[in-house]
């Protein structure tokens, strides 16, 4: 179980009524994070865009927008649409490409106390490997997050993320190429998440993150055309939280490597559900768009909760009890 690892973090003896300072730092894939709160890829740009709104140095990690070996233009407009308690997006992985990222974006990220994780995307295993090989030159990258689950590109992403064999192939190749630890980001659009979690683990993933967006759709009934030019798009936001939480829980049950929980987190309470379910860390996504200080509020809220319950984060992770009334699962 993933929580074994977290427990290894040395805990100070904590009993009695004295002062208690909860530790909320966490170690994942050999990297130390000052707290378990990260900003999700594609929702936080390259960090700098938020520099004048919040204190970036307080974040656990920034995960940058998906980077491919070559720059990509993305999909035609419209690319986004608001739904009930969520949004659809089909950006199509518009990005500056790995070289420009290293030159123009990484130097700023390197100056921060927050860890820098680079989300990597490709259309073929060679693409992934080539992107990683370029990025390997980057000073200040702490880990890669392999996006094998983007639902908005015809080939690549979603195909890898919905076939366990391809998942193993691309993860193994990427792991061989990677100079930094490898987090594999899984798709929620599968029958059995355990199969994919285990496939990624078997192929050498250092950690998992999930979920990416759910494939959805919306139609303008007046024009009888799709609301998004790409027809289908990825659903994110509060609407997906219950399903994402279940997937994260199941993934933590399936593997021994750490799992990072993502999906609809807008408050510390949401984040705590994921941590209690077994996630070692969490990512804030869509909420960054409408409430840029969400991650900071989540960090504060987690610390307050730990203080109130006199728990270190490591004791909280995976501490879900079974049975609603304490009588065991009935």
């Amino acid at each position: 179980m993933a929580k074994a690892k977290a427990r290894k973090l040395k805990l100070e003896a904590q009993d009695g009524e004295g002062e208690f300072t909860p530790r909320i730092d966490v170690e994942i894939a050999g990297i130390h994070f000052q707290n378990p709160v990260m900003t999700a890829s594609g929702t936080f740009g390259y960090g700098q865009e938020f520099a004048h709104l919040i204190d970036l140095n307080r974040l656990g990690a920034i995960i940058v927008k998906g980077i491919s070996a070559d720059p990509l233009p993305g999909n035609p407009a419209p690319r986004i649409y608001e739904t009930e308690a969520g949004m659809l997006n089909a950006i199509g992985l518009q990005n500056v490409g790995a070289c420009t990222f290293l030159e123009e974006k990484l130097p700023f990220l390197r100056t921060l106390k927050a860890r820098c994780i680079v989300n990597v995307f490709g259309y073929s295993t060679e693409d992934y490997v080539r992107c990683i090989e370029i990025l390997n030159a980057g000073e200040g990258i702490d880990a890669y997050e392999l996006n094998i689950s983007c639902p908005n590109t015809r080939c690549g992403g979603i195909v890898y993320g919905s076939d366990p064999k391809l998942t193993e192939e691309v993860v193994a190749a990427s792991k061989r190429a990677a100079r930094f630890p490898l987090i594999v980001k899984l798709s929620p659009n599968v029958t059995d998440i355990g199969v994919f979690a285990r496939a990624a683990e078997a192929a050498g993933a250092d950690a998992l993150s999930l979920v990416n967006t759910f494939v959805g759709m919306a139609i303008d009934i007046e024009t009888r055309r799709p609301r998004i030019s790409n027809l289908t798009a990825g659903l994110s936001g509060p609407a997906i939280k219950p399903v994402a939480l279940r997937l994260v829980y199941q993934a933590t049950q399936a593997v021994r490597i750490p799992v990072i929980g993502i999906g609809g987190i807008t408050s510390a309470e949401d984040a705590l559900e994921y941590l209690i379910a077994g996630a070692q860390a969490i990512q804030v996504g869509t909420a960054n768009f409408y409430s840029p200080d969400t991650s900071l509020r989540v960090i504060d809220g987690i610390r307050d909760y730990c203080l109130r319950h006199r728990l270190h984060l490591a004791q909280l992770i995976g501490s879900l009890k079974h049975g609603v009334n304490g009588a065991g699962e009935h």
Binding site: G42, T43, F44, G45, E49, F50, H52, L53, K65, P71, L72, P73, G74, P76, A77, P78, R79, I80, Y81, E82, E84, A85, G86, M87, N89, I91, Q94, N95, V96, G97, G237, P238, T266, T286, N288, F289, Y290, S291, P292, D293
Partner: protein
């Protein structure tokens, strides 16, 4: 750009489901430049989660007197004004706002009608033509005041579905030489699209130089851009697109522009909303 909680000072109903919303937010009001916009959020609602983009119509002093440029009258702006039309869930909720309510406002945003970029063309032109379609009028008051202050003659072409869409006229009257109105239902001015009288005006004055500033629905902007190209006038358009963040990070607002590969798209929220019309790749 500041992310603030702003208090509603007034939410005045106008004709045709339009409202003029005044928000007390001094820091933001002082920073506003013409053609910029705000992102407005109704806090505590998870059924309308994304912020809504709204042009900044005007900035005022706290007692709502004066308008943009009021610094010259010794007052500093403290109030943001937004002219909006109720079209869907978010704007319907905005219409229920009353003084004292608080909104999350991110402003000022975007690359607007910045005088340093068009003033040369405006001076070269015999007239600046403001072209507004419906609620697009909201983006043009502040540039119109800039131009008026520079004593540059301007003319407003303003179209809507019906006369109820022709809001804000009294604010423009002191600033422009003439106003041409058009309504689709013929309830005021020309019957039809505003681009028809515009086309006629340009056709009859082929020899003259104009600068066009336009804001309105995509179809109107496209026709206006076409006219500008045909008669070879410089033209700035303020574009609309759905917006996820207005911080430049979601890339949801990107539109097709002149350029290849990664440069083929630019963000309405960051590179725009105002673009030179010939920079846009219009739909075929």
């Amino acid at each position: 750009m500041y992310d603030e909680m702003a208090q509603v000072v007034e939410n005045r109903p106008l004709a045709g489901r339009h409202f003029l919303l005044s928000l007390y937010s001094p820091k933001q009001a002082r920073a506003v430049r013409p053609g910029q916009f705000a992102m407005i959020r109704l806090p505590g609602r998870s059924d309308v989660i994304l912020r809504r983009p709204m042009s900044i119509y005007d900035v005022r002093s706290r007692d709502l007197k004066g308008g943009y440029g009021l610094e010259r009258h010794g007052q500093r702006p403290a109030v943001l004004q937004v002219l909006y039309k109720v079209v869907g869930r978010g704007t319907r909720l905005m219409a229920e706002l009353t003084p004292g309510d608080r909104l999350a406002v991110l402003a000022p945003l975007g690359h607007g009608f910045f005088p340093e970029e068009y003033l040369a063309q405006a001076r070269d032109a015999s007239e600046v033509l403001l072209v507004a379609g419906g609620i697009g009028i909201a983006a043009l008051l502040m540039p119109a005041r800039d131009l008026a202050r520079q004593k540059i003659p301007q003319r407003l072409f303003f179209g809507g579905r019906s006369r109820h869409d022709l809001v804000g006229l009294s604010d423009f009257k002191p600033l422009v030489e003439a106003i041409t109105l058009a309504t689709e239902d013929g309830s005021r001015g020309y019957r039809g699209y505003v681009t028809a009288p515009l086309a006629q005006y340009l056709e009859q004055r082929c020899e003259r130089r104009f600068l066009i500033l336009a804001c309105g629905p995509m179809a109107m902007l496209q026709v206006t851009a076409g006219l500008a190209e045909r008669y070879n006038h410089p033209c700035l358009v303020s574009m609309e697109n759905r917006m996820g963040c207005a911080l430049g990070v979601c890339l949801g607002c990107s539109i097709r522009v002149q350029g290849e590969g990664h440069a083929a798209y630019e963000r309405v929220c960051t590179e725009g909303p105002v673009f030179w019309s010939n920079h846009i790749v219009w739909d075929p």
